[in-house]
């Protein structure tokens, strides 16, 4: 089946196509760098909240509060740890095993690889859901001022950035040199 070239494609709806970034052979490198940066950014976002809570200074020039009503405790660390575990599990899987090509290993290996992938993504989604839960239950429902709900927002953004990092790393590593996107799971 031969498609017309995208320049003359009559089925096209939008006049301006999505700009195709032709990073060429550097696509993998850029993706890996981006994933690492996102990973570090995620963890530093949460560590910022933890350090801020440990020092418990008023960050916007107010006089220091003698006894802040809430601190970052171990409950806040759990979603991040779950996301981190999921991140490790996802990246330990052999990418070729998931695709399940015929004649490449047995079918049970494919099944096991998919199970591990599911566990990894479940950990990451659980971390995200857990961070939202902590944000709502611990910070928003108790009606703390914005200075303290920042801890919860930092937690959520940590999980989101970890997930983005995993996705970027996956895409970067699954693009092969033959310019084909196969993100087929």
């Amino acid at each position: 089946m031969s498609l017309p070239r995208s320049n003359y494609d009559p089925r096209r709806v939008c006049l301006n196509p999505f700009p195709n970034f032709d990073l060429g052979k550097h696509r993998r490198t850029v993706g890996v760098y981006l994933a690492g940066a996102l990973f570090a950014l995620a963890n530093w976002t949460f560590l910022d909240a933890a350090i801020l809570s440990a020092h418990a200074n008023a960050p916007w020039g107010d006089p220091p509060i003698s006894d802040p009503p809430v601190h970052v405790s171990f409950v806040d660390w759990i979603p991040g740890i779950c996301s981190l575990l999921g991140y490790i599990v996802i990246n330990l899987i052999d990418k070729d095993r998931i695709r399940g090509d015929e004649g490449f290993g047995d079918s049970r290996a494919v099944w096991r690889a998919r199970l591990f992938l599911f566990i990894g993504f479940a950990f990451m989604a659980g971390g995200l859901a857990g961070s939202v839960t902590v944000l709502v239950l611990k910070y928003i429902l108790n009606g703390y001022p914005e200075q303290f709900t920042y801890y919860g927002y930092a937690n959520v953004s940590q999980s989101v950035a970890l997930m983005l990092s995993a996705i970027v790393l996956w895409i970067a590593q699954s693009t092969s040199s033959e310019y084909e996107y196969n993100l087929t799971l």
């Binding site: 890996v32 760098y33 950014l41 910022d48 801020l52």
Partner: protein, 130 residues
Amino acid sequence: MAAGLRTVILLSFVLAVGFLLIILSCALWQNWLPLLVALTFVLAPLPNALFAHCGSDELSSNYEGSAPLDLGRFITSMFVVTGFALPIVLAHSNVIDPKACVMSIAGGGLVYATILAYSAAFSQEESDYD
């Protein structure tokens, strides 16, 4: 060779200015935590340099990229972001002065840019066949 010499002198000046900024940012406020930024930025190119030799063995012609190379890039990028994020986090929680934060970030950026420019300027001449 004169151009190379001039480059070396210029880069060493920039490196000295970078370290001067970092040390000033520590010494002016009697708080030596921003010195970690210098350590981070000096360590940042190390994983790339270490893992660079793991990838291109046995004349692999295809640009497929190997896992050790990717790991090195990942860790390098983590170090760079850490170097920028650490002073911001410290300044955010009032551990260091905001001016010290700006100075240490600028100094660390200069140090890292020097390392990058040095490796870019002098690795081209060795491997011209690439």
